[in-house]
């Protein structure tokens, strides 16, 4: 018998900041001066305060179901800060941290989660996709965008974010495989927060890592500490550079933890222990970077107070604007359906405007 080994793989893991904020070895150039990390810190704080506000609005009946990113802010901020302005973000429904960094406004996010489509017509990153609620169904879109960029020979990349649960879906895999064989400028970032609603990571796949899903697509796959914003930013930046320069697609699994309920409609105590959650507060990304900044004298208690106050003020203002935004007119549901409303629909539109009781 001949048994030979025809292919070998391994999955690397990267971390720069230990869970207590200690740096391990030399940091990447962008992090050389701790002061340069302050915007990342502020970005995470903004996301956290936004989430808290959104949850509060939901609890008081002024917002729809909302998915908090509590504890996962480093994934979004690390990734978005690694993007060039003209890269394209294709986010999932828990990626407000990345969206805010990219220039989607808190008002727009609140409008969306408050049930107003105008929230997805954001003025900032016009080519970024709106969030995808159907899990993983946006990965093919990201591949299509990446194909567009490649066909136009633009040095731009696409970043698509999905959850750990999303890696079980066929569309995730089809898109990854296609992006691999077509060498598309696509980076898929798995926000592995260990839970898909009530289903723990261990019940989602027998794969030891989610990064190794890349091997099936013939592309590089790696793990990163998802609570370490420096590591996330570094690895995503490298992957995006490779993508932009013709090196093809890759997959990054960011290891983090969902500290909140799945959404405001969820009660996580039904299926997971508070004790498990408590242990994960240790090492959460905001405290981690703060500890590092403080240890490097780049951040003070005053800075912290001011940053929190600034962020809270910004979000409060946004909430007010959101709450003061009148709903769209009834005909909005018709007027954006097609480039031009087919004649067959004119009478329905008229009927809707008449409160549904006119002639159809």
């Amino acid at each position: 018998m001949t048994t030979t080994h025809v292919a070998q793989f391994s999955v690397p893991f990267t971390r720069h900041l230990e869970s207590d904020g200690t740096a391990v070895g030399a940091l990447p150039p962008f992090a050389g001066n701790p002061v340069d990390l302050v915007p990342l810190y502020r970005g995470m704080v903004l996301a956290r305060i936004f989430d808290a506000k959104a949850v509060a609005l939901q609890r008081t009946g002024r917002l729809g179901t909302f998915a908090s990113s509590l504890g996962q802010e480093a994934v979004g901020v690390g990734a978005a800060s690694a993007m060039a302005a003209d890269d394209v973000l294709v986010p999932s429904f828990r990626d407000q941290a990345a969206q805010l960094w990219r220039g989607v406004t808190p008002v727009e996010l609140l409008l969306y989660w408050g049930g107003d489509e105008r929230g997805s017509d954001f003025a900032g990153p016009r080519e970024d996709f709106p969030i995808s609620v159907p899990v993983a169904s946006h990965v093919p879109h990201a591949a299509g965008i990446a194909l567009a960029l490649k066909l136009r020979q633009q040095a731009r990349g696409v970043l698509c974010i999905v959850g750990d649960g999303a890696t079980s879906k066929g569309d995730f895999y089809e898109a990854l495989n296609l992006a691999g064989v077509w060498r598309l400028p696509l980076v898929v970032l798995v926000n592995n927060n260990q839970w898909a609603i009530s289903v723990p990571r261990s019940a989602q796949s027998a794969a030891a890592t989610l990064a190794q899903k890349a091997i099936a697509a013939g592309i590089p796959g790696e793990q990163v500490d998802g609570n370490d914003v420096i590591a996330v930013r570094e690895r995503v930046a490298l992957a995006l550079e490779r993508a932009r320069s013709g090196g093809g697609a890759s997959l990054i699994e960011a290891l983090t933890y969902r500290l909140a309920d799945h959404t405001t409609a969820d009660d996580a105590r039904r299926y997971r222990d508070d004790a498990e959650v408590s242990t994960h507060w240790h090492g959460e990304p905001v405290a981690r970077l703060r500890a590092y900044l403080v240890s490097r004298k780049a951040w003070s208690r005053d800075d912290e107070e001011r940053a929190l106050a600034d962020a809270a003020a910004e979000i409060d203002r946004a909430a007010e604007t959101y709450l003061a935004t009148p709903p769209q007119p009834v005909w909005a549901m018709f007027d954006h359906l097609f480039a031009a409303l087919p004649a067959a629909l004119a009478s329905q539109r008229a009927q809707a405007i008449a409160g549904g009781t006119g002639d159809a």
Binding site: G64, T65, F93, Y112, W113, G114, G115, D116, E117, V133, P134, V135, A136, G165, A166, S168, K169, G170, A196, I197, S198, V199, A203, Q204, S205, A265, D266, R270, Y271, P327, Q328, V330, A332, M333, F334, L337, A344, L345, Q348, Q351, A352, G355, G356, T357, G358, D359, A360
Partner: protein
Amino acid sequence: MPDATLVEAINFALARAMQDDQRVLILGEDVGKDGGVFRATDGLLARFGPARVLDTPLAEVAIAGVCVGLAAQGFRPVAEIQFMGFAYATIDQLLNHAARLRSRTRGRLTCPMVLRTPCGAGIHAPEHHSESGEACFTNIPGLRVVIPSSPQRGYGLLLAAIRDPDPVVFLEPTRLYRATREPIMDDGTALPLDRCFTLREGNDVTLVGWGGVTREMLSAAERLAAEGTEAEVIDVATLVPLDAETILASVAKTGRCVICHEAPLTGGFGAEIAAQLAGPGLLSMLAPVERVTGYDTIVPLSRLERHYLPSADRILAAVRRTLSHG
């Protein structure tokens, strides 16, 4: 006789079916400890154990496809798809496999599975959580499509669906899940899967619909009664196979019909009922059939959603139009 909401009645039916028949299995996302995002499977894991209540990976195509294999092997899988917006991915498996396994093997292998999914708008849910896509399933030969509109009918129809030897898509209107409570007979009695339910008798006009709009039909009927117009209200319940007879008999009596559903108008299943009236029912018709439905638009997000949903007012206006004809 406990009082129950629709979602509790679904839960009772699942428990009853599992208790009565060892072959019945539950599978889906979060159906275990979490008891399903709407709690339809609440308590079943504790009661029947992990070999009969299976939390699946997040993979709708696999959920549907695994059911085909289980069913062919003699199990009676009851799968939950978390929202209808995520059930479209299963059409491939339902149409190409589940619905034709019996036919393509000339009866050697069969596919007694149920695919349950919540549907419809009206609960201020996030994007993609408010679909009424029944028309994607009603032109698939070999498949039954059922949608209950009350706790007791939910109970009896789900039991029937699970006991049925062929595949059934079972749609559960989310806005009815907790809308009302009624005393439930949890005695294992199934309801027929080929029969409409006449919820109210009347001679002047027939209101026929299903799912979420049933309440609006009944409330319109009450308001009409106050004016001296007696509406017959029919809950179609089983869309396929369609009990056209009951509907035709009603319209033969009333001569007027308003068809109501939440799904978009064009190509909606209401058209099938209208087609029955244009065909065998034509000679009964005293006035043009009216359809009161969702518009041919994407269901708006929550802020505009109520303008999309067919209201009792819209139904009333349609009834008045039919009555205005000779």
